[in-house]
């Protein structure tokens, strides 16, 4: 079957001034992006920086596997273009722990909220965001977390959220 197109001809040297690179802070480090400003943050994190803890799971922000914090607030990295992320502070799962694990990560390990594990980075970021807003989350708050988990790890995630809330409030070690 013949193709309906020719190989691309050498484009005439359109001397368009390249756009100024976008500056972005990720896990406290400065980066620049000089590619397509419409590229979602997700692919900058994964393909460019190889911060692959932030996962791809859908194309419409629905699954939550790519959850990150932008200026401390929950965002879906697949739905944030680099032009919007620029100048902001992004925290990914790789940047959550300091010298020790973040209490939410600690709680996830304690309650073994893993299974296939693919969605858990996103679940952890969503829990960090929830517990920042609501140190004592109610059932409605927990139910409002939209992150999906195909394995059905929700029972462990529920327990881990409760435990993380305790740890963050410093109630029990």
């Amino acid at each position: 079957m013949p193709k309906s197109t020719q190989p691309p001809a050498a484009t005439p040297a359109a001397r368009v001034q390249p756009p100024a690179p976008l500056a972005i802070s990720i896990n406290g480090k400065p980066y620049f992006h000089d590619g397509d400003p419409a590229m979602p943050l997700l692919w900058f994190l994964r393909d460019r920086l190889r911060l692959t803890g932030t996962k791809y799971g859908c194309d419409d922000g629905g699954c939550g596997a790519c959850s990150v914090l932008v200026d401390g607030k929950l965002a879906r990295a697949c739905a944030v273009p680099m032009s919007a992320a620029a100048t902001h502070q992004v925290t990914t799962i790789e940047g959550l722990a300091g010298d020790t694990l973040h209490p939410v990560q600690q709680a996830w390990i304690e309650h073994d909220a893993i299974q296939c594990g693919y969605c858990q980075a996103g679940q952890i970021m969503a829990a960090v965001d929830l517990l920042r807003r609501k140190p004592r989350p109610g059932e409605d708050d927990i139910a409002a977390i939209g992150n999906l988990c195909r394995c059905g790890s929700q029972p462990q995630v529920r327990r881990a959220i409760a435990r993380a809330a305790e740890l963050l409030r410093g109630e029990r070690k």
């Binding site: 694990l101 996830w108 296939c116 594990g117 939209g146």
Partner: protein
């Protein structure tokens, strides 16, 4: 290095020291990339991986995980068996994923030696082999200590990484490795009795949990070859269709797009079924694909492949259009059904196609060279994958290196090699290493789906509220035309044997839709049977639990029934009922539902407590009780059962794949909702009845979850939903 040859199992175990002085117990091929054993002993056939144990001089232990982890728990459970026999402190064990290996032929043909689904699916021989590896290493260490102390090895014992003498002296394993490597273990060592286990049977956390919660663990999609181009494919969305023409001029202008190719068919004669965009990074590949102008050759009969056509053909078959295949016939149910009875009822249940919808869509990294290939992909059947790559490339299987990253979900989808096939074909055509990625839309639209089924059930009950006639006709799309009813309607299905006049008839429905088996098949017929049992209980004003128990605990047990299987099923029902507090009546819009399901070797029961208010379904509690044989890691088993429960909830309430014009109508997860916290029960309780019988996969628990939930919804609302997904139907009917 010494080589221990186990002629009995034709396994070659190699004992040796690494360059850093660690003790290694591994199959030959692992101990040395160029094993100095005669090639005729190695053969040119591959089996799944053998075991791998390394003990460092500081007593740290590395155990290889031989199967690919996709969420079923093998990365932790299989090494636990090695650690158990080795007698080491699990806290000092590091588990590493082994690549798919090249080891001596094991008699050939054992396609998935290590569990495709989970440890329960792992062959007993493979489990025994892992335990032998641990026992062999322990034996070597005992010999070394015996030499050191000049004592007979029988007077020594091991405990948590040390050898202990009768007088209390101890030597750490690390101190013994140099000497241990000089011995050759016998082919077969005695293994521990279950009563002596210290690790197996203990709740054990996921071995790589820390890497997962910090984002460090590498999944298939996280693998980037040094020069690999990202490939995404625009596939023909119509089943049986092909590529008519396309315009890639816009796609090629996108920065980062390197090449656009027709998707080569598996053989030269095959028509292209898609267009591949190769790019330097994912976003460019996705943008490139979006910029393609595509025209598809839609098959002339596309309109015939639709969900409405499937429904029509199913109901026509059940209305008597065809004779069907008689699966079981006890007595004369048809005649009995025409007789006067206290109650006569019938119902039809309609269950949609479902998708696997793994969290991590399929992907594969393939690098082809003149003399070998490298494949990185989460594979549930790496053996089959190795054969496939050999066939597609002409390479020898020993020259195909397969690395197994963690996989974001399996559910049997990674038993298929469609993405891998594409990646190999594209890598060949492009002459470059390829990282093939499926998007969510690709995943939903090009899956192999759970069969579509409509069940017609009819029954009569006598004055004693007993079933006198039971007719079960199932019209469904077979997985394999040669065995059409396999997995869809079985002669042993409850309540067969408990009813004198029983008839099971299967009506195969032709379809072009590609299909897949697995535990979700059981969910099809369990939904129909367990909901219908509930309907019979309601109509005859009986307690649904006691109604089931009366059949299962009838004395004497009906001839031809398996009394032990009935007792086990009754037991899980009773346990489940006790845990949901079945005997306490609920009020205020609360409803309880229960269901059970048996398969060879095990059984499950579920109970739910739900309420429906303001058009919202609330699941307060879920209880799952499972009788599933041997359990290696109770923590994992519990999670798998809870997971199957959630899977059952999501599938029953919300999920359906529908076709129109031979094309899937669902495009994303908004159209095909997966479990989330808001859908999960406030509390989920799991109880495992373990035994020393052969293990069965906890994933089968999905079967009883759906009907128990639907029965609870009926109890709460008196609305009986017989067509899934349940939620939209319920909202329509309320």
């Amino acid at each position: 290095m010494s080589t221990g040859i186990d002629h009995g199992r034709r396994r070659l175990l190699r004992i040796g020291l690494t360059a850093t002085g660690a003790l290694l117990v591994a199959p030959c091929a692992w101990a040395d990339p160029t094993p100095n054993v005669p090639p005729e002993l190695l053969g040119d056939d591959l089996t799944a991986l053998g075991p791998f144990v390394r003990i460092e001089r500081d007593s740290r232990v590395v155990i290889g995980a031989p199967a690919c982890e996709v969420g079923q728990g093998v990365f932790t459970e299989l090494p636990m068996l090695v650690a158990e026999e080795l007698d080491v402190d699990w806290a000092r064990v590091r588990v590493v994923q082994l690549p798919y290996g090249y080891v001596a032929a094991d008699g050939g043909g054992d396609a998935t030696l290590y569990g495709a689904q989970g440890p329960a699916a792992t062959l007993p021989a493979a489990l025994a082999q892992l335990r032998q590896a641990g026992a062999s290493a322990r034996w070597l260490l005992l010999q070394a200590a015996a030499r050191e102390w000049n004592l007979p090895p029988e007077q020594l014992r091991t405990e948590a990484g040390t050898v202990v003498a009768g007088d209390g002296r101890t030597l750490s394993y690390g101190a013994l490795v140099r000497s241990a490597a000089t011995f050759t273990p016998p082919a077969q060592l005695p293994l521990k009795a279950a009563s002596a286990y210290t690790r197996v049977g203990q709740p054990t956390s996921t071995a790589d949990a820390q890497a997962i919660v910090t984002g460090a663990r590498v999944y298939g999609i996280d693998t980037y070859g040094p020069d690999a181009l990202v490939a995404v494919i625009a596939r023909c969305p119509h089943l049986g269709g092909s590529l008519a023409r396309f315009d890639d001029s816009a796609a090629r202008k996108i920065a980062g797009v390197v090449e656009v190719l027709e998707l080569p068919g598996a053989d030269a004669a095959a028509a292209a079924t898609g267009v591949v965009v190769l790019a330097r990074h994912t976003w460019a590949a996705l943008q490139g694909r979006a910029a393609l102008v595509l025209e598809w050759q839609v098959p002339a009969d596309a309109a015939a492949t639709s969900s409405s056509a499937l429904r029509a053909s199913a109901h026509a078959a059940l209305d008597g259009a065809g004779p069907g295949i008689v699966v079981r016939k006890d007595g004369d149910a048809a005649r009995q059904r025409r007789r006067p009875a206290r109650h006569r009822i019938e119902a039809r249940y309609e269950l949609p196609l479902l998708a696997h919808a793994l969290m991590e869509p399929l992907n594969a990294l393939v690098e082809l060279k003149q003399d070998g290939a490298r494949v990185v992909a989460a594979l549930q059947d790496p053996d089959g994958a190795s054969r496939l790559v050999a066939r597609l490339t002409g390479l020898q299987r020993k020259d195909i290196a397969i690395e197994l990253p963690r996989g974001g979900g399996g559910f049997g989808r990674r038993l298929d090699h469609d993405a891998l096939t594409e990646a190999v074909l594209v890598a060949k055509a492009a002459g470059k290493p390829i990282k093939l990625m499926w998007t969510r839309g690709d995943d939903l639209q090009h899956d192999r789906y759970r069969p579509f089924a409509v069940h017609w059930l009819a029954a009569s009950l006598d004055d004693h509220k007993r079933i006198t006639a039971w007719t079960h006709h199932c019209a469904a799309t077979p997985l394999d035309p040669a065995t059409p009813n396999a997995g869809l309607l079985g002669a042993g299905d409850f309540p067969a044997g408990h009813v004198a006049h029983l008839e099971q008839v299967f009506h195969p429905l032709a379809t072009r839709v590609p299909l897949a088996g697995g535990p979700w098949l059981d969910a099809l017929r369990a939904f129909a049977v367990q909901c219908f049992i509930d309907e019979l209980a309601v109509v005859s004003r009986q307690d649904p639990l006691r109604f089931r128990l009366a059949m299962l605990e009838a004395t004497p047990p009906p001839a031809g029934t398996d009394a032990d299987a009935s007792a086990r099923l009754a037991r899980v029902l009773r346990e489940c009922a006790a845990r949901i507090d079945w005997s306490t009546p609920r009020s205020g819009g609360q409803g309880l539902g229960i269901a059970c399901h048996a398969l060879p070797g095990g059984c499950f029961a579920h109970a739910f407590e739900v309420s429906v208010d303001d058009g919202q379904l609330h699941i307060q509690r879920a209880v799952c009780v499972a009788d599933i044989g041997r359990v290696i890691n109770p923590l994992n088993t519990t999670q798998q059962l809870a997971g199957a429960t959630l899977d059952g909830i999501a599938a029953t309430l919300q999920q359906a794949i529908t076709f129109k014009d031979a094309r899937v109508q669902q495009r994303g997860l908004a159209d095909y909702p997966l479990p989330r916290l808001g859908l999960s029960p406030r509390t989920t309780q799991v109880h495992v009845i373990a035994s020393d019988q052969a293990a069965i996969d906890p994933a089968w628990a999905i079967a009883s979850a759906g009907p128990a939930l639907a029965n609870a919804v009926y109890a709460a609302t008196t609305v009986r939903v017989r067509k899934l997904p349940l939620l939209p139907e319920l909202m329509r009917m309320l």
